[in-house]
């Protein structure tokens, strides 16, 4: 009888464990796919206004990165090369640094060192949440000419796949 009294709570705990493992939430970032890109207006590192809606008609590569993120720093020169190759009439690369705002000077220095000349702005938790939660970097979104998010790349993604996707979007009206 006493054993039963002890066992019952133990079984309940075991059930709780199973339930906890089974529960999976939807990935909020994935739900952004094929949805209009959340709009924002910010100033870039040079104090210039960056209004996402102003890039309608161009394909936008929106890249969230950070200075301490090695894979991010590998990608950025390549993004810059695409920006030059395709031109700002067709493609606009936008960088969002998820470093602390106090580190803006260090981000400027890093930008120079990497030879990056596309706009970079300082991100924050609000902007991260707007894009489904940026809880790891790098994360890049591809936004089509109509302002709809068509792809999301996370982590050390194959840049060849990303470039192919950009070319596809550029070929579309």
């Amino acid at each position: 009888m006493r054993w039963k009294r002890v066992c019952r709570p133990a079984l309940l705990i075991a059930a709780l464990f199973l339930a906890a493992g089974a529960g999976r939430a939807a990935d909020p970032a994935r739900t952004l796919l094929d949805q209009p890109a959340p709009q924002f207006v910010r100033s870039d590192l040079d104090g210039l206004r960056v209004d996402l809606s102003a890039y309608r008609g161009k394909v936008v590569l929106l890249n969230f990165w950070a200075g301490w993120c090695a894979p991010c720093l590998t990608e950025m020169p390549r993004f810059n090369a695409w920006q030059r190759e395709f031109g700002t009439q067709k493609l606009q690369v936008l960088g969002v640094s998820m470093d602390e705002v106090e580190d803006a000077d260090a981000v400027r220095t890093l930008r120079r060192k990497l030879g990056v000349d596309y706009p970079i702005l300082m991100g924050d938790a609000a902007l991260g949440k707007l894009y489904g939660g940026i809880l790891g970097v790098p994360v890049s979104f591809l936004i089509d000419r109509q302002g709809v998010i068509r792809a999301r790349f996370q982590g050390e993604t194959g840049l060849a796949a990303m470039e192919k996707r950009i070319r596809t979007l550029l070929a579309q009206p």
Partner: protein
């Protein structure tokens, strides 16, 4: 009275078992190439799997480890493990100073879990130095939460509890 004592014993045993399983679970995921500053430098025996920590946190009467986030403050503000304390990025001197402040005065055998999840495990620059510092300070019961890809994929999207804000 006796049944309550029995229940407490079961819960305590469950907590100990969960903490102990970190060793076995971690071994199968550890990255092969370690270097001194990356998370891959942390011994396999010190890795804690997310589901194990989640279950531990669900046990109401179990002793909770101190959970320290040693990565980005912005990511912490977006979402963090309930009760976790922001302790500064381990890759920066200022971050390690803050970590030292956060653990000052704690018993050296206090269970501590550190986590980051900024980047894929073997590219994380924050966990390795934070783990090393805590060990150097004499903490004997430190685990590193093994987030293979990042905090979003390996904690939030699994439906485990989070809090927002600083």
């Amino acid at each position: 009275m006796k049944s309550r004592r029995g229940l407490q014993t079961v819960l305590a045993m469950a907590a100990v078992l969960l903490w102990g399983t970190a060793v076995r679970c971690g071994a199968q995921f550890a990255a092969p190439d370690a270097n001194a500053s990356s998370a891959a430098s942390i011994p396999q025996s010190a890795l804690l799997q997310p589901d194990v920590l989640n279950r531990l946190l669900l046990l109401k009467s179990a002793e909770k480890p101190l959970i320290l986030q040693v990565g980005s403050r912005l990511f912490f503000a977006e979402a963090h493990i309930p009760g976790a304390v922001f302790s500064g990025p381990g890759s920066q001197a200022a971050g390690l100073q803050l970590l030292q402040i956060k653990v000052a005065g704690l018993k050296r055998d206090r269970p501590i879990v550190i986590y980051c999840g900024c980047c894929p495990w073997d590219r994380c620059p924050n966990l390795g130095p934070a783990y090393k510092l805590l060990r150097t300070l004499g903490f004997t019961n430190v685990k590193a939460l093994y987030l293979a890809n990042n905090f979003g994929d390996d904690w939030v999207n699994k439906g485990y509890a989070v809090e927002e804000g600083l």
